[in-house]
Homo-oligomer: 319 residues x 2
Amino acid sequence: MSLNHVILGLLNQESMTGYEIKKIIQNTPFMHWSGNNNQIYKAFVELLDKGFVTKEVQHHEGSPSKNIYTITNSGINELKDWLISDTEEPAFKKQILIKLAFACQLKRSALEKMLASYLDTVKMQAILAEKELDKCYFAEKEPSNKAKFLSLIRENILSFYSYELEWIRKVQDYISELPDDESISTESKVLKENNEVKSDMNYKVIENQGKKYIHFTSKDPLIQSEHDAYNIITLCFENDANAVLLEGNSLSDDFVNLKTGIAGTVLQKLGNYNVKAAVILKDNHNFTPRFKEMALEHSKGNSFRVFTNMNEAVSWLLA
Amino acid sequence: MSLNHVILGLLNQESMTGYEIKKIIQNTPFMHWSGNNNQIYKAFVELLDKGFVTKEVQHHEGSPSKNIYTITNSGINELKDWLISDTEEPAFKKQILIKLAFACQLKRSALEKMLASYLDTVKMQAILAEKELDKCYFAEKEPSNKAKFLSLIRENILSFYSYELEWIRKVQDYISELPDDESISTESKVLKENNEVKSDMNYKVIENQGKKYIHFTSKDPLIQSEHDAYNIITLCFENDANAVLLEGNSLSDDFVNLKTGIAGTVLQKLGNYNVKAAVILKDNHNFTPRFKEMALEHSKGNSFRVFTNMNEAVSWLLA
DNA sequence: GAACCCATGTAACTAGTTACATGATTCA
DNA sequence: TGAATCATGTAACTAGTTACATGGGTTC
């Protein structure tokens, strides 16, 4: 487990608390640990035990005393030994490849759905990774050796995703040439259209009190499928916003109809990516009681809420 | 954990024993499990419990009764549900990126060594993956949908490695332009030369009784560094051989001198990649007693042995 | 007062690995 | 005789995750 050495590497740059280390690991996309407490605090026990770090307890008048860890000379040696030791082989985990190996079982339409949704996920992952890299601990403003190394790392990671995207499109091309299965052939065409970035998504990016939100003004039904959730999230990421304002009539009938399950999935996706959504309901709108129930249910959380008043909605979004 | 679903996927193609499943998982490079018994036999307990598979015990007169597992209808449904469910995001683990982030700590020569050895490892991994893909369970001879899917999978995997190799060379180029550190500047030049494929490695591929071995005939000292081990292993892979015959004078002084540690590392590398090595010692050769001791030590294993007689060496290699 | 960040820590769990035990068969 | 492959299984372990507990400070 190289986590211990990563901690030494970070401490070698400056002394830190466990919490800071944890945050760095969580926000660095090439460190493949979740950065959970258990592992990190356990690691410190071991590092102290072996004499690679020392701990200085800083009591504050309040009370949550900080433990500031500092690397020792023997820790620095250990770090250097690790750095020059054999490097682990690169490895990947791609469930999609396993699924594809079994994919002859599936109908063409199912395959198309699978690929389309995978494409969405990877796109978003790529955007997220890029953002994280830009603001991660190792990012440097001024050009230097360190900055150059980070840019090499960045190139490696972004290529991983961009190759995956390219490959997905290749697979999609192949699948689209397969003979139709028994399902209605138009279904797949709809999917293909959906797959293109919606150019008719009317929206405005609004900045208010230093915070941004995206106001969707389209008169056409906006959220028709899971894919639209990805479109919205991607737009948010691209515009550095994490909140959206939807008008009641933007929601498609399928969305409002709970049986399709779209509402649930979409709200979950938005929540996953930490995007707040406010819906403005004009009084004349009458949704089904079950939808209203669900809206109320979600209102308990902090990521989706229904409003009748625009100002309320905006101030909640910016909160 | 999708291992259970992978097992269902395999059983959906044909009924099998646990051992067969295990072998398939171990030999399929895009299945990222080690394929250890514990996990697989535990998985069957769960699959039986949930009614996704049935077990037929085949008693043989001898005794090691086989358990042949067959997928049930409910298992097929479970498999299909999994196939159309959201696909996990692709993920990678690259220790090299973490090390590089801390790399400003290192001297240029150390960085060069690190990259050169990583390049070797990845090269070999790529060759191995390609071989495994060719002979894996999913490989089909005749063109078909299944074959096309496998070729898409293959493309994805091989690109992963070939991009990594390309990237390593880019990093090496950058590092080579860094100012020299205090270490002797010629050292790095030696490394660069080593890095090129040795064109003066004289060898013959000899096939005997359907088995192949590679006979190194070079009069120049052959094994000077760890890197040469990789060269030898790569040659073996490329020629589908897993045994090499070395002449005593092929071994460099550094190799024979145990203090450098090269002999140990090289023999370990050869063993790791399952390459048998026989050394022919002419009587007039006098190695240090310590080398002879180590040779004897290794002779207990089945991957390295010293001979004085050519015929003995060859018959051991082919055994 | 609710929710969220800082900061430390633990308990319980899942996933995955190595190594061992057994026994028969086959091949040199 | 010894080693390799087939075949099943278990024990002990490492790595890593989620979820919880505590408690202060800040912000709406």
